[in-house]
């Protein structure tokens, strides 16, 4: 990360943290009925940007994903559509139950990782660049097919150990500021940090267009932002901790409607 970026982060979070010390409080889970999407905290203008398909910049990636879905690629010379047919049917509700535990790998994979698996194993093509335009486009296109559907990650014998691992990371204090995710997102959500409201961290809209990024980004990228903000060392790209955190967050948001491609400040 650039020095300039670090300086900026330090400014912002330190500005907000003076207040945080006095917030105190003990990590307590948010009751199901009190859960709220980050969408609810946005200004009417930013909400309108998400709601109107003709104005939501995330739709540019969905459009691109639609084209990539049809493109033959790899040694297998197959397109996603060759195996999965019409995504509007075959991918409906899929993103709402990711990350999912892969039976072969015996660990959770998120939507982007699942797409990469098809890309490398089924299409036999080189992996797409993580956080690159094509992978985000495919993820946005697939996730879009679940828009409005309830998040459907369930706790069962396969997912339980990984949900627990994710929860443990979420509640663990880490980084130079000695904060946990729960300190902000459970105990202090709705309050302001350096001017912006702290959401409850429900990953309803990913991949989403963040105004700050001026582009579409994955949930992993969002988590990296928070880790850097906590002045903790972000996990290596693709590290298992991300999928565990994502799984825990999606389980925590179970039943909430999918918004992808969302828009956030």
């Amino acid at each position: 990360m650039s020095r300039q970026g670090l300086v900026a982060l330090a400014c912002l979070w330190i500005a907000g943290l003076a207040g945080l010390v006095s917030w105190g409080g003990q990590a307590a889970e948010i009751p199901l009925q009190d859960r709220q999407s980050g969408y609810q905290l946005m200004t009417p203008e930013t909400r309108a940007m998400q709601d109107d398909d003709a104005a939501n910049p995330g739709m540019l990636w969905v459009l691109d994903g639609e084209a990539l879905w049809q493109r033959k690629d790899g040694r297998a010379n197959l397109s996603c559509a060759d195996c999965h047919g019409d995504a509007r049917q075959s991918m409906k509700g899929v993103a709402a139950r990711y990350p999912a535990v892969d039976p072969g790998l015996q660990k959770p994979v998120d939507l982007e990782q699942r797409i990469e698996m098809c890309r490398t194993e089924k299409q036999q093509a080189p992996p797409l660049r993580a956080e690159g335009k094509d992978l985000l486009a495919l993820a946005a296109y697939v996730a879009r097919q679940s828009k409005g559907m309830p998040i459907a990650v369930v706790e069962d014998d396969h997912t339980r150990p990984f949900i627990s691992a994710g929860r443990e990371i979420y509640e663990r204090r880490q980084g130079q500021l000695n904060l946990s995710c729960a300190n902000c997102h459970d105990d202090n959500s709705g309050k302001r940090l350096a001017g912006s409201p702290i959401p409850q961290a429900h990953p309803t809209g990913y991949p989403l267009y963040r105004l700050e990024w001026q582009t579409l980004g994955s949930l992993q990228r969002r988590l990296r932002n928070c880790l850097v903000g906590m002045r903790a060392e972000p996990y290596a790209p693709g590290a298992p901790e991300y999928a565990e955190l994502e799984l825990y967050l999606m389980w925590r948001a179970r039943g909430m409607p999918m918004e992808a491609p969302g828009v956030r400040p």
């Binding site: 990360m1 650039s2 300039q4 970026g5 300086v7 900026a8 982060l9 400014c11 912002l12 979070w13 500005a15 907000g16 946005m42 200004t43 009417p44 203008e45 930013t46 309108a48 940007m49 956080e131 940090l193 350096a194 001017g195 912006s196 702290i198 963040r210 105004l211 700050e212 990024w213 001026q214 990296r224 932002n225 928070c226 850097v228 903000g229 400040p265």
Partner: protein, 151 residues
């Protein structure tokens, strides 16, 4: 805004400039006035006819929605020839110019702009009779708390 104390606001603005990577103190209210002068020449700039819709408080200066509407019948005899948008504190005062004709039917445009800081935005309408009209709005820019490096 009364809720933000001055020191914090100062910090936020400083950081905001950093986010956009902008060297402070480039454009000024004077630079904006000069830019407007290059468009309108010596003609008087009157208040009215123009509605400038910008959110009073934005969460991120990277993407600020702006809508400009001008009262006009949009007939061959009386129409809006152009709409110009200016700002006070970005590195350059000029934001956008659009050219219109009676074929537009209604003089209303929308776009999204970057605002490096809390500031005034001005929309100027150039009418077919050569007159100029304006509206202005104050925008308070807060910024996202978790930002990152560019990648």
């Amino acid at each position: 805004m009364t809720g933000i104390d001055e020191t914090r606001r100062g910090l936020l603005i400083g950081a905001g400039l950093l986010v956009l990577g902008i060297k402070p103190a480039r454009a000024t209210p004077e630079a904006m006035k000069d830019a407007i002068r290059t468009v309108i020449g010596d003609a008087p700039l009157r208040e009215g006819k123009v509605t400038l819709d910008v959110p009073p408080l934005v969460e991120n200066g990277n993407t600020v929605p702006v809508t400009v509407a001008v009262e006009s019948p949009m007939t061959d005899a009386d129409y809006v020839r152009a709409i110009h948008v200016f700002n006070e504190k970005n590195p350059q005062p000029f934001v956008i110019t659009v050219r219109l004709t009676p074929r537009n039917g209604r003089a209303r445009i929308a776009t999204r702009m970057k605002l490096a800081d809390t500031q005034t935005v001005i929309a100027v309408a150039e009418m077919s009779d050569g007159s100029f009209w304006k509206a202005s709005a104050e925008v308070i820019v807060t910024i996202a708390a978790c930002i990152e490096d560019i990648n």
